[in-house]
């Protein structure tokens, strides 16, 4: 082979590896960008007057007089719409021909208006979701299009899927007294909804209505916190003790140590869903730690899941403590146990903490083990101790249910993004703590 070819291979090999690294980083950026970008949208958005009304009615936030004044101004702007509707309905009632032609389209317009601006004056729907108009300006824009355009599907070409056809309602209602509505509505929508840049930090601390159409995600954050707390409480002592035994007491090559190591590796490789099944079969159906799903059963299951992680990281941290510490302590007459508790563990503490923090992130984000053991979509609010035997909300599970099983998936995209964002943020914060801790340790070891 010629030298030029060898050089070319060398260069392209370098290029390929750098390209792979760039690809990995790019994948991270591609995945995080929509989650962070649109997740922020759950907190920063242009909130309409309906948003402030909801905050006041359901959660008691905001100043009553201000909001009442705003609502009055908005109603003033909306009145024209309702007058037009009422007039046209009168027309329809009078003429059978008009009724036959427009009644169906009229119902669609009214339904669209209800979604956009909330119920018509005098109506009080049962569902919370229907009691208010659009709380977010971006959603309001979409709903406005639903009012302005009729959506039909064209199936004339049998080889293709149905094509969406949008026809402006202005043409549909041309010549009727309702025609002005379709110019007034887009022109004056801002006055009717009064959007304003909103920093809705209460997204994290508000409870939500049952279908998450209004409010925040506090119950889910709290549930995730409880699960993580108990998981860490169960797993960490066990993990540290195992690590101490493996490093300080056991002789390498001992049969028992080999067995324990094999089991830890096996445990680390067990798929998370199998942990969930095991939790169901063992903690709930056999031990009966609770009736049905509970925080206790869930966190015990999660504790088993993160146990190998805790043991490995603690073991590594304890091994990293210089031998001289131990020798100095032993030569001063301290016993083995005292040496471990007073000398080795304090020195290994930052490393152990790093592992604990990373396992916390893992426990908070796992979904599969808690599907059968802890998480539900509808749960009572509860306390740290009293909720131990109750099922709970949990962020990962709610993300799943909201984006697959919810009735109006598209309406609450912002809540889903907000939830994923919160979950990712929690995990990333925990991991950055771990990275910082590790940086401190390596600085310390370097002197």
């Amino acid at each position: 082979m010629q030298l030029a070819s060898r050089k070319l291979i060398d260069r392209s090999f370098t290029g390929l590896s750098v390209f792979s690294i760039v690809l990995v980083a790019g994948a991270l950026v591609i995945i995080l960008t929509p989650i962070v970008g649109r997740g922020m949208g759950a907190v920063f958005f242009r909130g309409t007057v309906e948003h402030r009304q909801v905050q006041l009615d359901l959660f008691g936030h905001g100043r009553g007089e201000d909001i009442a004044a705003e609502v009055a101004a908005a109603e003033e702007a909306r009145r024209q719409v309702y007058v037009l509707i009422a007039e046209f309905e009168q027309e329809l009632a009078d003429s059978i021909r008009a009724r036959r032609q427009y009644a169906e389209a009229m119902e669609e317009v009214k339904a669209g208006l209800r979604e956009l601006l909330g119920p018509f004056p005098g109506e009080t729907p049962v569902l919370y979701r229907e009691r208010y108009g659009q709380t977010r300006w971006d959603r309001a824009q979409i709903k406005l299009q639903r009012v302005l355009y009729a959506e039909t599907y064209d199936y004339s070409d049998p080889t293709q899927m149905g094509q969406k056809v949008l026809t402006p309602r202005v043409e549909e209602f041309a010549g009727t007294s309702l025609e002005p509505l379709f110019t007034i509505l887009p022109a004056r929508l801002e006055e009717m909804l009064r959007p304003r840049p909103t920093f809705y930090w209460r997204f994290f601390t508000n409870t939500a209505t049952a279908d998450y159409s209004f409010g925040g995600i506090w119950p889910d954050i709290l549930g995730t916190f409880y699960l993580t707390f108990w998981t860490i409480l169960f797993a960490v002592p066990m993990g540290i003790i195992s690590a101490i035994y493996l490093v300080e007491y056991a002789r390498e090559g001992n049969r028992i140590v080999v067995l324990v190591r094999t089991c830890i590796n096996t445990l680390a490789g067990v798929p998370s869903i199998v942990f969930g099944l095991f939790g169901l079969a063992f903690f709930i159906n056999t031990l009966r730690v609770s009736e049905g799903r509970s925080v206790l059963a869930g966190s015990l299951t999660l504790a088993l899941l993160i146990l190998p992680l805790v043991i490995r990281s603690a073991e590594e941290a304890i091994r990293a403590v210089p031998h001289t510490y131990k020798e100095a302590s032993l030569s001063l007459g301290a016993g083995q146990w005292r040496t471990i508790v007073r000398v080795i563990l304090p020195a290994a503490l930052p490393g152990v903490l790093t592992g604990v923090v990373i396992s916390m992130g893992r426990a908070a984000g796992e979904t599969a083990p808690i599907i059968f053991t802890a998480a539900v979509s509808v749960a009572r609010p509860m306390g740290l101790w009293s909720g131990l035997s109750e099922p709970t909300h949990a962020l990962p599970w709610s993300v799943y249910t909201l984006c697959t099983e919810h009735k109006t998936v598209d309406e609450i995209r912002h809540v889903q993004y907000g939830m994923v964002f919160t979950l990712v943020l929690m995990v990333l914060l925990l991991n950055s703590v771990a990275i910082l801790l590790r940086a401190r340790i390596s600085r310390k070891l370097r002197g």
């Binding site: 090999f13 830890i264 798929p271 099944l277 990712v424």
Partner: protein, 390 residues
């Protein structure tokens, strides 16, 4: 005066020397140490115990299914209608789905993961490496449900709308440099026997022919991909790509460790003999680290095989054999997703076949993951032995 006082008070009258314990105290101490040791051992054995318990409880609930229905239908049947009457439990499409998705993930994770680990261990300068490592850690830390959400809400619509175009761009991006390089090297190698002007002419001719051939192949592949009609974005391809990304951190970190463990001496020896960096890495370092890289691949496979949320959310969950069977563009269903999805309904009928079949699936998952983790351990320990023997 406190310490002195305590010294005197501790000195019991009968004792000759404070530093030497009485026989009884010494015995007590030894007993306590032994007890402590035993207690620690017991607690350490809890992880052994939990593995045994997991196996026991999964097997205990899986056996009734096999007793009732036997093995043949489960492993070979293609009809999965657990709630029909009469029910049929042919899980073959589900096994195939799991394997397809895992194979796809491996095709994404292994080449890029191994290349990235080579880059991390041998090519990037130290400061850049310190920047890239947290990126990989973050990728490893993102919860699986976030990946699933991305796959379902962001990636699936994209794939459905212009998946063919994306695929053809990807095929060009990966195929063009590879094809160009192959043509260049082939033209060099095939003309090695000639010399002087003949060699240059032959090389040029070959390069043109091979280049045209490669271009034609790529163009055909690109237009084939572009013509593909992706009827649903939630399919095996989507899940494979996302699972591949999820498995990347595992593959990268394990194989990087393996590459780092190969000593400087080997690298320096290879350089001293005149090899380029690529030759050093490809012919010396990577063969020496091959067992570690194998372990990385195995761990990556395990990660993809056992993942639940992504496949549950974005694989389409259709329990039928794709046609043809390797078609990644059709929805599939995996073992993990079946367990997660069906337990909600089967939970109420504890003791029924529907309940036990899920445990049978879990048993398969457990067995496979056990075999894989045992394999990876064997591979790594063999590597340690070889290195120790050098």
């Amino acid at each position: 005066m406190e310490p002195a006082q305590s010294m005197t008070s501790r000195q019991a009258p009968g004792r000759r020397n404070a530093l030497v314990l009485s026989k009884r105290a010494s015995r007590l101490n030894r007993l306590a140490a032994l007890l402590g040791h035993g207690l620690l051992l017991l607690l350490t054995l809890s992880s052994v115990l939990s593995v045994l318990f997991i196996f026991y409880f999964i097997i205990r609930d899986a056996i009734p299914f096999f007793q009732l229905r036997g093995f043949r239908e489960f492993f070979a049947g293609t009809q999965w209608y657990p709630s029909a009457n009469p029910a049929s439990f042919g899980a073959f499409p589900i096994f195939l789905g799991s394997m397809l998705v895992t194979a796809g993930a491996v095709m994404v994770a292994v080449p890029f993961g191994v290349c990235a680990s080579v880059c991390l261990s041998d090519i990037l300068p130290f400061t850049l490496r310190q920047l890239v490592k947290p990126v990989i850690e973050i990728l490893a830390a993102i919860p699986s449900v976030a990946f699933g959400f991305f796959a379902l809400v962001v990636f699936a619509p994209r794939l459905q709308a212009d998946g063919g175009g994306l695929l053809s761009v990807a095929s060009w991006m990966i195929g063009a440099p590879v094809a160009g390089l192959t043509a260049f090297i082939l033209s060099d190698l095939l003309t090695a026997g000639l010399s002087g002007t003949a060699r240059w002419v032959g090389r040029g001719l070959l390069l043109v022919v091979l280049g045209a051939l490669a271009f034609w192949g790529l163009w055909a592949a690109g237009s084939f991909f572009r013509s593909l009609d992706i009827s649903s974005g939630t399919n095996a391809l989507n899940v494979s790509i996302i699972l591949g990304i999820m498995a990347l951190p595992t593959v990268i970190s394990v194989s990087e460790d393996a590459l780092q463990a190969v000593g400087r001496e080997l690298r320096e020896g290879a350089y001293a003999l005149g090899s380029t960096r690529a030759e050093t890495l490809l012919r010396v370092v990577m063969p020496a680290a091959s067992s570690g890289i194998c372990a990385a691949v195995i761990l990556g496979v395990m990660r993809a095989f056992g993942e639940t949320m992504v496949v549950w959310m974005a694989s389409g969950n259709a329990a039928h054999v794709p046609s043809p069977w390797y078609n990644l563009l059709q929805p599939v269903r995996t073992l993990t997703a079946t367990i997660a999805g069906d337990m909600g309904e089967a939970d109420h009928v504890t003791g029924s076949e529907r309940y036990h079949v899920l445990f049978a699936m879990a048993l398969v998952l457990l067995t496979v993951s056990f075999v894989f983790s045992w394999l990876s351990e064997r591979v790594v320990s063999r590597a340690v032995r070889i290195r120790g023997g050098q």
